[in-house]
């Protein structure tokens, strides 16, 4: 089985992955920029734009992308486990919560790239519809005054958040590196801009539903996101659907990109590679050291992803030749 994805499906997968990853990173995992998070998302998109335009599969960039994407996918899977653990009706072991999600990701990889991309495209439309309904239902709970002070923690923090955002964009856009055919820079930038704008909008909305706080743990922030205690209870279900569907699309896209990159390096059967990659991501997601790895990716991910791509571009597209078998 050859793991492949059309450029159109890759762009759809990238749009959803970028939106969800930026929101997860800037609003839940590392919300240190406070009200300035939406600016960080846009700065991240600007920083990552050359990367998104240039990224192609190559041996050097491929290996870096495999490592970064796999680590970030493990981090996303761990986030999903925490979310499901928080929402589960019963007290359940983390493995029980994680394995079905990993199985769903594996099934998605086996259905191949186009299924993942077009599912993300449909998912984005449904999510938009649900978010509009939720927004209207809890319109009275939004407080624009909570968006002040508008720069949150200030420019240094916003810029740091921008670099992190660029790293998350890089690992969420790796489907582009394995997409069939070639597409124009503009067609690659559109989903990037769309994803960043959608994430910025969601960050602004979440800023209006929960005030800037100087404390609070991960669960608190997740609670803010899903049922913040201020909005009507009946908006919780659509929010949960949007949240988990988005995370699943992100995970599936990352697992697929990782498996497809491995296949281009090792040239093995896609089914076996998919199973091995998802199993590896599953194992890593349960490692205690993952948090530190996730923090490292947040801080240095963009640089790590950008250097081989930049080197390839500067050296005259040598990696592009790899893609065509040279």
């Amino acid at each position: 089985m050859k793991l492949s994805i059309s450029t159109r499906a890759a762009r759809a997968a990238m749009f959803v992955a970028v939106t969800v990853r930026l929101f997860l990173g800037l609003a839940v995992e590392l919300p240190t920029t406070h009200n300035g998070a939406w600016i960080s998302a846009l700065i991240g998109a600007l920083l990552a734009a050359p990367w998104v335009v240039c990224v192609r599969y190559g041996r050097s960039s491929g290996l870096v992308l495999i490592a970064l994407t796999a680590l970030d996918a493990a981090s996303v899977l761990a986030s999903i486990t925490r979310s499901t653990g928080y929402l589960a009706l019963d007290r359940a072991l983390p493995w029980v919560l994680t394995v079905p999600v990993a199985a769903a990701a594996l099934w998605s990889v086996w259905r191949n790239g186009d299924a993942i991309g077009y599912a993300a495209s449909i998912g984005a439309r449904l999510a938009l519809l649900l978010l509009v309904i939720v927004g209207l239902l809890q319109a009275r709970a939004f407080r624009p005054a909570w968006l002040a002070p508008v720069l949150g923690s200030g420019w240094p923090s916003i810029l740091e958040g921008g670099v992190r955002a660029a790293g998350w964009i890089a690992v969420s856009s790796s489907t582009l590196a394995v997409a069939d055919g070639d597409d124009s820079p503009l067609s690659r930038l559109i989903p990037l801009a769309g994803g960043a704008l959608a994430a910025a909008l969601l960050l602004l909305l979440s800023g209006m539903i929960t005030p800037t706080r100087l404390g609070g743990g991960w669960l608190n922030r997740l609670d803010d996101l899903l049922c913040n205690g201020r909005a009507p209870l009946y908006t919780q279900l659509p929010m949960i659907v949007v949240w988990f569907a988005g995370l699943l699309h992100l995970l599936a896209a990352q697992c697929f990109a990782c498996a497809a990159l491995v296949q281009r390096t090792a040239n093995l059967n896609g089914k076996w590679i998919g199973a091995a990659v998802v199993a590896a991501i599953l194992m890593v997601s349960r490692l205690p050291a993952l948090n530190e790895a996730a923090l490292w990716i947040a801080r240095w991910g963009f640089l790590a992803a950008a250097i081989p791509v930049a080197a390839t571009a500067l050296l005259g597209g040598g990696d592009r030749k790899c893609a065509s078998g040279d």
Binding site: V99, A145, W146, G154, L214, G229
Partner: protein, 366 residues
Amino acid sequence: MRIRGLILMLLVVLTLSGCSVTGEVENQAYVLVLGVDRVNGGELELTARVPQIGKGSGDSEESGGSYLTFSASGVDWPRALEALEQATPRPVNLSHIEMLVVSEDLAREVDFAALLNRIAETPHLYTTARFVVCEGRARVFLQELDTVIGTRLSSEIDAMLDHYAQRGYIPRSSLADACFAFNSIYGDGVAILGTVAEDTRAAVSLTDPGELSDEASPMKQRYGGAALFSEGRMVGTLGADRVMLLNLLRGEKSDLPFECEGRHYTLTPKGGAGKQVTHDNKQTILVVNQRFTTLDDICDEDKERLEAEIEQKLVEVIQACQSLSSDPFGFAEAAAARFSTVRSWLIFDWREHYKSADIRVNVDVG
């Protein structure tokens, strides 16, 4: 291929986290109201009202109603919760809490905000629960709840508190609201104030628990007034007669019944309270511009008197809170808009400016 896929899906289903035997609704102890007290020189005492699922309505005096009361204490929140688990014959489930009741003594403790955060961060605890501070012990308050908890999972509590909030006797306050306020960089939180009256006639009186009324009510609890907080701890109260104005300043759009020189008016707020914070020669000024409409007949002379009366009452409410260093109105939000970063806002030290701020209230009845 399809069969293999089907088998894989069935295998995956086996790993899904569904309801185990202990997860069945009948086997859970759904806590509807949770009370928290400080007892025995420092221990936290939790009192939980749990419905007996499958029983009928809860008015039977003989059986103590269809609700069971469990109490347990521990040196801190996790240990008290663990003790409650031990005292309760079924797994304690906090996902349906409708009301969290905290004793006033506990709410006045210096590190109360830390405790409330700890409570709110408890997995599966429903943070939309109403937040009530009661005079006296929370345990006693909870024991008087039988008559108002309905047969459905406490829709009665919601309906009752919504009704009181709509009438302006209590503020709208949830556990999430309080926690957000305690941790946020903006103003302070408020809580619903509850009391257990000596008898049911005293419970009906809104303005003074000691004042007996001719009206009758089957319940001894009295919900009226607001508990005020400053820096995460309770610092004072506002009576039910002033909560209406507090709600108005907080942006509630309920009608305001107002009495002026023996005549009753019903005023409808037009838009939210226009709160602004300005600075004049380093003096902070709190500005409120509130417009009302009314269907009542009112001559120009009475209108001016009414406006002046409302302005005076609003100033008194703001001053009362200023003296307690509590900003439940949201002036801080208006003031924060002038600052570009959280750091510059924190350096500004809003609380100090707020305490000594001048007040300008403009009321327009149209």
